[in-house]
Amino acid sequence: MVQMTYRDALRQALRDAMTEDDRVLVIGEEVGRYGGAYGVTKGLIEEFGPDRLLDTPISEPAIVGAAVGAAMAGLKPVAELMYVDFIGMTMDQLGNQAAKIRYMFGGQIGVPMVLRTQGGTGRSAGAQHSQSLEAYVLHTPGLRLAMPATVADAYHLLRGALRQPDPVVFIEHKALYTLKEEVDLSSPVPDWGKAAIRRRGDDLVIVTYSRQVHNALKAAQDLSERGIEATVIDLRTLNPLDFDTVRTEVERVGRAMVVSEGVMTAGVAAELSARIHEECFDFLHDPVVRVAGEDIPISVSVALEAASVPTPALLRETAERLVA
C-alpha cells in the first residue's frame, strides 16, 4: 500500500506501459520538457527520451490525426489534448477517422490509440477551459470512453486503455490531480468495462463517474447521518457501459439519481436516465432524477462557476427529496 496522488498514478501507468512496451509513445503539447500542463508526464522525458515523449506544435487536429496514423502503423500512441474543451477542433479526426477506420475498412485494421485529456470545473479557468464534453464522445460509436474517479483507477484504467484494440478517450478531472489515496497498484480493481459499487445502501442508487463520484460519496455520508443509505455506482468506463451493475442495483433499490458534471441536455445523464427508465421501469417507485451541469457556459467568476455544476449539497438535497 502506498499513498499516491491521481496525478502520480497516471504517470506511473504511463511509465509502466512505456517500460513494458516500447511502442508506447506520448505525443502532445508540452508533454515532454514541460511535463504536461497539469504535471502528469513530469520526468518521463528524462526516463524515456524525446523520441518517446513528443512535444508537438499547437495543432490539435494534426496531433490526433498523427496518433491515428501512428496507431495504424503499429505504434501505441498516447496523444494528449491539454483540455477536453479543445476536442471540438479534433472531432473530425476523432469521430470520422479514429472511430470509423476499423469499420469502414472492413475490419482490416484498428486504431489502438489513447487520447488523454482532462475536463471539468474547479480552477475558474473560464468558458473554454472548464467543460465536461464526454457526451460528444459517448455519442460517437467506435470510441471507447474512460473517466477515472479514484487514484487506483487513474492507474488501472489508463493501463487498461492502453490494452484496448480501439481508440480510447481518457478524460481525467482537473480537480482530482491532487487527490491522494492509499492504493495497492498491483491489487485487482474491477476489470476494464466494469462499474464499481463504491458504497452500498438500500434507499437509492446514485449513478455517476469522475469527480462526481466524490460529490456523491460526500452526499451519501450526509444522507447516512440523516438515516438515508445510498448506493453509489462509479461507472469508470462509459463505453463500454456496465449497465448490468446499474440494473441490478436499481432493481434492488427502486430509486435512482444520475449525476454528471456535463450540461444536462442531451448529456450523459440523459442516456443513463433513459436507459434506467427503459429497463427498470417496473421496479421504479419514482422517476430517475438527473442532476447535471446547467445548460449554460461556465463563467470565470468563482461563484458562478461553482454554482454551474452539481455540488454535494445539491446531491444531498435532491436525494433526500427523492426518498422522502
Binding site: L54, A62, A67, G69, D92, R102, Q108, P141
Partner: protein, 350 residues
C-alpha cells in the same frame, strides 16, 4: 504487372522505352478502370452516389507510385482509384468494393471513398477533404523509428490546400524530419470551383517551402517527368527531408458522376483535356518505335482485365445484414447491441 510498382526502387529513372511502356501500361489500366467503373451504375450495381474519376490525372498516380517501394504507406483523397491501382491493387476487389459488395476490399462497408488495403500499405482513402493527411505524420514517425527508410505519402487534391490540417501536418513533418511526402494532385478544380477562385498564392510549393519542406511543382503531361520530380522529393523523404510535390493536371470530367461541369466552358474543357498523359505517353512510345498495333493489343488486354473486374463485382453478393455490427470494435470485443434487441428488452415486461 501489378507488382511493378512494388518492385520499383529508388534509383534514377531510366528513360528507355520498356520503362515508359510500363508507365503507359499502368496509366492505361487506371484510365480503363475509371472508364469502366461507371458501368457499375448502369448495371445498377454501384453503391454510393459518389464516384470520383481520376481520368486526366493518371500521371500523378503512376509517376509518384513508381517511386514507392514495399514498406511505404500512403493515404489518398476521395479520388484515389488510380493511386491505389498504380500501387498494386486488385481491380476485382476494388470494383466489388465500389459496388458495396462482400468481396470488396472492405466487405462493402467502405465503398469508393473508403477503400484501403493494409497489405499494400494503403492506410485508406478518405471522404473528408484533407482528412487522411495527418495520418502520414504518424506513419512517418513509425517509419523513422523502424529505420528502414520507408516513406509515408499523402495524396490529396488542390482542394486540400485550403484545409488547415495540411499545414499543421507539414509543419510537424518538417519539425521532426520525417520520411513523409505530400503530393497534391492539382486538377484545377474543387467541385465547381476553379483553383483561382479558391486561392491567391498559386505557387503551391512555396507554401511547403515556407514550412521547411522541399517543395516542387511538376507538369503532369509527361509521366516520366512526374516520376523524375517525384523521385527527387522521394529521395529526400527517404533520408528524412520531408517533401511536397504538386502535379499540375486537369480533371477531364465532372466532379462526381452526376456533375456535367456546367461551370466551365466547353472550350476550356477541350483545352484542358489536351493535357492527356495517357495519349502523351502513347505518342512518345510510337515515336520511339513501338507499333501502334502492339499498344492496341496491350490496351485490349487491359480492357479485358477491367471487364472481368466488373463481372466479378456484379457476380458478388451484398454483405450479410449481420455484418453490420461487425468491426465497430476489435475482434474480441462484443458487438454493439442492435436497437431491436434493446427494444425487445424494454418491451419484454410482464
Amino acid at each position: 504487372m501489378t507488382q511493378t510498382a512494388l518492385r520499383a526502387t529508388s534509383g534514377p529513372a531510366p528513360r528507355h522505352n520498356s520503362d515508359l511502356r510500363e508507365l503507359y501500361t499502368q496509366m492505361r489500366r487506371v484510365r480503363t478502370f475509371e472508364e469502366r467503373v461507371g458501368e457499375l451504375f448502369v448495371r445498377g450495381q454501384s453503391a454510393g452516389s459518389m464516384l470520383h474519376l481520376s481520368i486526366g490525372e493518371e500521371s500523378a498516380a503512376v509517376g509518384v507510385c513508381a517511386t514507392m517501394r514495399q514498406g511505404d504507406t500512403f493515404t489518398t483523397h476521395h479520388r484515389g482509384h488510380g493511386i491505389f491501382l498504380a500501387r498494386g491493387a486488385d481491380p476485382n476487389r476494388m470494383m466489388a468494393e465500389i459496388g458495396g459488395k462482400e468481396t470488396g476490399y472492405c466487405h462493402g462497408k467502405g465503398g469508393s471513398m473508403h477503400i484501403a488495403d493494409m497489405g499494400l500499405g494503403h492506410l485508406g482513402a478518405n471522404a473528408i477533404v484533407g482528412g487522411g493527411i495527418p495520418a502520414v505524420v504518424g506513419a512517418g514517425l513509425a517509419s523513422k523509428r523502424a529505420g528502414k527508410g520507408d516513406v509515408s505519402v499523402a495524396f490529396f487534391g488542390d482542394g486540400a490546400m485550403q484545409q488547415g490540417i495540411l499545414y499543421e501536418s507539414m509543419n510537424m513533418a518538417a519539425l521532426w524530419d520525417l520520411p513523409v511526402l505530400f503530393v497534391c494532385i492539382n486538377n484545377q478544380y474543387g467541385m465547381g470551383t476553379h483553383i483561382d477562385q479558391a486561392t491567391k498564392g498559386r505557387e503551391l510549393h512555396l507554401r511547403a517551402r515556407a514550412f521547411g519542406l522541399q517543395g516542387e511543382t511538376v507538369d503532369g503531361l509527361d509521366v516520366t517527368e512526374v516520376r523524375e520530380a517525384a523521385q527527387e522529393v522521394m529521395d529526400g523523404a527517404r533520408t528524412g527531408q520531408p517533401g511536397f510535390l504538386a502535379v499540375e493536371c486537369y480533371r477531364f470530367f465532372g466532379h462526381a458522376r452526376m456533375d456535367k461541369s456546367p461551370y466551365r466552358k466547353d472550350e476550356d474543357e477541350a483545352l484542358g483535356r489536351q493535357k492527356d498523359p495517357v495519349l502523351h505517353a502513347r505518342a512518345a512510345l510510337i515515336e520511339s518505335g513501338t507499333e501502334a498495333g502492339d499498344l492496341d493489343a496491350l490496351d485490349r488486354g487491359i480492357e479485358a482485365e477491367m471487364d472481368q473486374a466488373i463481372d466479378f463485382a456484379v457476380a458478388s453478393g451484398e454483405p450479410p445484414l449481420a455484418s453490420m455490427f461487425r468491426d465497430v470494435y476489435g475482434p474480441d470485443e462484443p458487438e454493439p447491441e442492435p436497437v431491436r434487441t434493446r427494444i425487445d428488452r424494454v418491451l419484454a415486461r410482464e
